[in-house]
């Protein structure tokens, strides 16, 4: 039996070499993309966690302020040190500083040389312990090898470290041999850092190692209950979850794109196997007559699919590994998503996920062959042996509208469901159902279109051809389904991307009101720079300052950005793109305006009063409105500088929006450039920022355009293959028509007309499904995965141009099928049919 199966599989490959190879490659591509994305993310996450651990060690608990401008009081550190359950407490202060005239911000970590070895061994300086300790206590700083290389520094060099107005000399005492490649770090004594850069009465974090035998979970719970509200306690697991959450939605979205590639592979196997089954119906029937059981016949068809899927998946694994390596070298560990900047980890494959992707590739292939195998099983052996594939066995109920209607209603229902664990799983299921809905609606529409076409004043041979397809639309459905799936996916992506781009374009108009912007790259701007801008000879009429901090509202989620702006609390709509009405705050209460992501992640709403961990205490604030933010998907909160300072906050701007005086637009940038360079700042005009933002946007969607093109090619290929197979299946009918007086030109015309009309059906359904899926992507997937909301905007000119182009390509594909029809040995076919 196995020998027979092998012979038949080999024969099938030899006969359908091109289609089998393309199916194999499509499966390989799907597996490769999925596996590459998995490998990159898995490795990048592990690498990022490793990097985090190398800096913060592996403490059992970390006590930190919820507001990044806050601190952990020294009294609490003392109290923790005295706790018998605690083995060691390592206080840490971390700030961003600049070194000399270099623009690059560098992490300066202040640590206690006596407690750090137990918690953060990777941050220990080189050299003998006593000597290094003495050097660090004397104000020496240690740099990671990567920083030394980057800034061309060497131990013994004298440095100038500065942050805002603080500028201090330091001596580079040595290296940090335990730091990871690529880490740009400076390490100094915590007291030295505190004295120079603050905070004055506390530390940034307290990293805690518990005594052996202490139940860490219980200890953390007990401490959390008595911690002041402005502090939080988190564990290593919380940090891992936070890192994972950073890129989770982006990762899932990329994986779904990979699944689309796999789906197109499965579709190719489907088209390949269905046409193979239809072409070989009498051969399969013969095997059944000779004694091959129905089950073995079905297994034979599935086995042929597996013979495509297994090598395809194996090739996909190899290709995926190569792609992952290439991508991490060129785009970094986050594939350009911006989540783990600078990370270019080494790809390490693990057997279990590899087996999973291998199984996925095989499953896609088997899924593609399942329906053809089932259809073959329904064939009557004696009938199939005599006349080949008989479509009549396909259920006529498939031509009714009830199935697509039910699927459409289900898809709509799923699109209304909330996310599961912050992921739009129901939305993805809704998209899958919409695709199936389109395919199941094809026979009904095919019947209508072809029946209506047959009523047109056409030549007799064309009318007969149309009537035939109207009566037996199964293969037309198969031919159209490739176009339905590929065109729907293309239209949906084009619609979503177009809607998104239009929304981002309009949003940039609102968030970039000033002609010029200056960024301090996460370090406060020095007073000297601000004073220069206020000088009478400054070409600027005015400028608005912004300060950036962050709040930890949930230990397992990335921090929410806190943006302190010079903004009129009574007229915030002049600066923020609100999504709805702005609520007037009570005169005495601080007001904040939250982004859509904050609203959705933390279930807040406009007009609500909430308590936020601000400036070392919990403060009740009024939510004045919800604004649109396409940058910070984990949330942002804006507060006015006046409210912030009234609450006791120390405003230290890091960004500026600048308005040049009338007539000085051209000279203002030139005047500002050297000043900005002196303080390591970046300057860009609104046009440059807009162009850069849109070009980043376009780059991030470039991969989807490549997939769209691949999907369309596969759809057209499926159409060509199925139409050609259709010619073979209808060979007797065509031969009979030939005997009745149809010449080859007439046969060719009839086949082309059928092909074009089938493509038209596919494009019509694909367009409708594509817009529906585009709506799901725009209104469900984007808001639920990334908290980006926008209005649907169908790019009709592009969509119609795409449809026209596809129809032209479909005509070419139909010509290929028509050529097959004209090459049929009509006399031989008629003779065989006797």
């Amino acid at each position: 039996m196995n020998t027979l199966a092998a012979w038949l599989i080999a024969a099938q490959f030899a006969r359908r070499r091109t289609t089998s190879l393309l199916s194999l490659l499509a499966i390989a591509l799907g597996v490769a993309l999925g596996y590459a994305i998995h490998l990159i993310n898995d490795t990048a996450l592990a690498d990022f966690r490793q990097a985090m651990r190398s800096v913060q060690g592996e403490p059992d608990a970390i006590v930190a302020p919820r507001d990044t401008t806050g601190s952990v009081g020294l009294a609490l550190v003392e109290e923790l040190t005295r706790d018998p359950a605690v083995l060691v407490v390592a206080p840490v202060i971390e700030v961003r500083v600049r070194v000399d005239q270099h623009a690059l911000p560098v992490r300066l970590i202040g640590l206690d040389v006596f407690s750090a070895p137990a918690v953060m061994p990777a941050l220990l300086p080189e050299g003998r312990e006593a000597q290094a300790s003495r050097a660090i206590l004397d104000g020496g700083v240690y740099a990671s090898p990567a920083l030394l290389a980057k800034l061309a520094l060497a131990p013994g060099d004298h440095l100038s470290l500065w942050r805002g107005n603080s500028r201090w000399p330091a001596v580079l005492a040595g290296q940090l041999p335990g730091s990871r490649p690529g880490d740009l770090l400076l390490v100094a004594d915590i007291a030295w850092v505190q004295a120079h850069f603050g905070p004055p009465a506390g530390v940034g974090e307290a990293r805690i190692r518990l005594a052996p035998g202490v139940d860490a979970t219980r200890w953390r719970q007990a401490l959390a209950e008595r911690l002041p509200s402005d502090l939080l306690i988190r564990s290593d697991d919380d940090d891992s979850a936070r890192v994972s959450n950073l890129s989770r939605a982006y990762r899932v979205n990329l994986n779904v794109l990979a699944l689309v590639a796999l789906l197109t592979g499965a579709f190719l196997v489907f088209a390949n196997q269905l046409t193979a089954v239809a072409q070989r119906a009498s051969q399969f029937a013969l095997l059944g007559v000779l004694g091959l059981s129905p089950r073995r016949l079905m297994l034979q068809i599935l086995g042929e699919a597996l013979a495509i899927g297994l090598p395809g998946a194996l090739l996909g694994l190899a290709l995926g590994h190569a792609l992952a390596t290439a991508f991490t070298q060129t785009l970094g560990g986050d594939l350009g998503g911006g989540y783990f900047s600078g990370s270019a980890p080494t790809i390490i494959a693990r057997p279990l996920p590899a087996l999973g992707f291998l199984a996925l590739g095989c499953a896609a292939s088997l899924a593609g062959a399942a329906y053809p195998a089932w259809l073959n099983r329904q064939q009557d052996l004696a009938q199939a042996l005599k006349s080949g594939f008989a479509e009549e066995t396909a259920s006529s109920s498939a031509r009714h509208l009830w199935l697509p209607t039910v699927l459409g209603v289900l898809a709509y229902g799923l699109a209304q469901l909330p996310p599961v664990g912050d992921l739009p799983l129901a939305g993805y299921a809704s998209i899958a159902l919409l695709l199936v809905m389109g395919i199941t609606a094809a026979p009904w529409l095919t019947q209508r279109v072809f029946a209506a076409g047959a009523e047109l004043p056409l030549a007799a041979h064309q009318r007969i051809a149309l009537q035939n397809v109207a009566q037996a639309p199964l293969l037309a459905q198969v031919a159209a389904s490739g176009l339905i799936v590929s065109f729907a996916l293309t239209i949906s992506m084009v619609t979503m991307v177009s809607s998104f781009r239009l929304a981002v374009d309009r949003w940039l108009d609102e968030v970039l009101p000033a002609p010029l912007y200056l960024r301090g790259k996460a370090t406060p701007l020095p007073d000297e720079l601000l004073a220069a801008l206020r000088q009478p000879d400054s070409p600027f009429a005015r400028f608005e300052q912004t300060m950036h901090a962050a709040l930890a509202l949930d230990v397992q989620r990335p921090n929410v950005a806190l943006i302190v702006r010079e903004i009129d609390r009574d007229q915030p709509e002049a600066r923020l793109p609100f999504t709805g009405a702005v609520s007037q705050p009570p005169p005495t209460q601080p007001v904040v305006w939250i982004s859509e992501a904050t609203q959705e992640l933390y279930r807040l709403h406009s007009g609500q009063r909430v308590r936020l961990p601000l400036l070392g205490r919990e403060i009740e604030v009024f939510i004045g409105g919800v604004w649109r933010d396409y940058v910070r998907q984990f949330g942002a909160i804006v507060i006015s500088r006046s409210d912030y300072e009234r609450l006791g906050g120390r405003f230290a701007a890091s960004d500026l929006a600048l308005w040049p005086q009338a007539g000085h637009s051209a000279t203002a940038a030139a005047w500002l450039a050297p000043l900005a360079a002196r303080f390591g700042c970046e300057v860009a005009d609104a046009g440059e920022i807009r162009q850069l933002s849109l070009s980043i946007f376009d780059q991030s969607f470039a991969v989807t355009h490549a997939l769209e093109a691949a999907a369309m090619l596969i759809g057209l290929f499926g159409l060509a293959v199925t139409l050609a197979a259709n010619v073979w299946l209808r060979a007797r009918e065509l031969a009979t028509l030939g005997a009745l007086g149809f010449d080859r030109h007439m046969l060719s015309q009839a086949v082309i007309l059928e092909g074009v009309l089938i493509a038209l059906v596919g494009l019509l359904i694909g367009l409708a499904c594509g817009i529906a899926i585009g709506a799901v992507l725009t209104y469900v997937i984007n808001p639920q995965a990334f908290h980006w909301r926008m209005t649907l905007s169908v790019p009709w000119p592009s969509a119609l141009a795409g449809a026209a182009l596809t129809l032209a390509a479909a005509t070419v594909a139909s010509r290929y099928a028509a050529r097959q029809a004209t090459r049929l040995p009509l006399a031989q076919i008629l003779a065989d049919a006797q």
Partner: protein
């Protein structure tokens, strides 16, 4: 070897049965011709005997064990066909993608015959049907007569007890038809198998041991 008892068949929705109360037997080594007008139900009867169609009532017992194929499920029928029945068709039905020897090997593979024995049997049969040296040829390179020789070899290679042939010479010219018929009858007799041959050809029927005529009233 073949025993048909009280067989009746009616197509779904049809007012009249195709046939009813058919009973006959074919002994081992006996060759029976089944003749009748077109559309009278000869092929339907053959399909019922092969387990490809299901009769309304009656029994069809095949082989020394007299297994009733009507009572078997599709897998059981397939297994019985693989062991006990050889087929020869009017349209040859040779798998075009397999070589001559691979085509003949199909029943042996279904029966799980070992590779050595398979090769010996195929070689011997190819010689008996006059196709020595054709083992590796592709069906597309063979004439109609040669294709039917391959079909006869395939029908006999697993030593079935029953040969079912449906118009085995219908697609051949008179000279080739005569040669093929001689070959088929000789080989069937050599194997001591029972054979039921559906035909419209009077000369063919005359060369069989017995003729059954299917009419609207039943078998004569």
């Amino acid at each position: 070897m073949l025993s048909v008892a009280d067989l009746a068949k009616r197509h779904s929705g049809a007012a009249r049965p195709v046939f009813s109360s058919l009973s006959f037997a074919v002994a081992a080594g006996e060759i029976v011709a089944l003749v009748g007008e077109s559309g009278i139900g000869k092929s339907t009867l053959l399909n019922c005997i092969a387990g490809l169609d299901t009769p309304e009532t009656g029994a069809i017992r095949i082989g020394r064990a007299q297994t009733d194929i009507v009572r078997l499920d599709p897998a059981g029928r397939a297994a019985l066909r693989a062991r006990q029945i050889g087929f020869v068709f009017q349209a040859f039905h040779i798998l075009p993608t397999l070589s001559v020897e691979q085509n003949i090997a199909v029943p042996l593979l279904l029966g799980g015959v070992a590779a050595n024995e398979r090769a010996q049997r195929i070689e011997a049969l190819l010689a008996r049907v006059g196709l020595s040296g054709f083992a590796l040829r592709r069906p597309a390179t063979l004439s109609g007569g040669e294709l039917q020789r391959v079909a006869i070899a395939r029908a006999l290679v697993h030593k079935p007890g029953l040969i079912l042939a449906d118009e085995p010479t219908g697609n051949l010219d008179p000279r080739t038809a005569g040669e093929i018929l001689s070959l088929l009858l000789a080989q069937v007799r050599a194997e001591q198998a029972a054979a039921l041959i559906v035909t419209h050809s009077q000369p063919l029927a005359m060369r069989c041991d017995r003729i059954l005529t299917l009419t609207a009233e039943g078998l004569r």
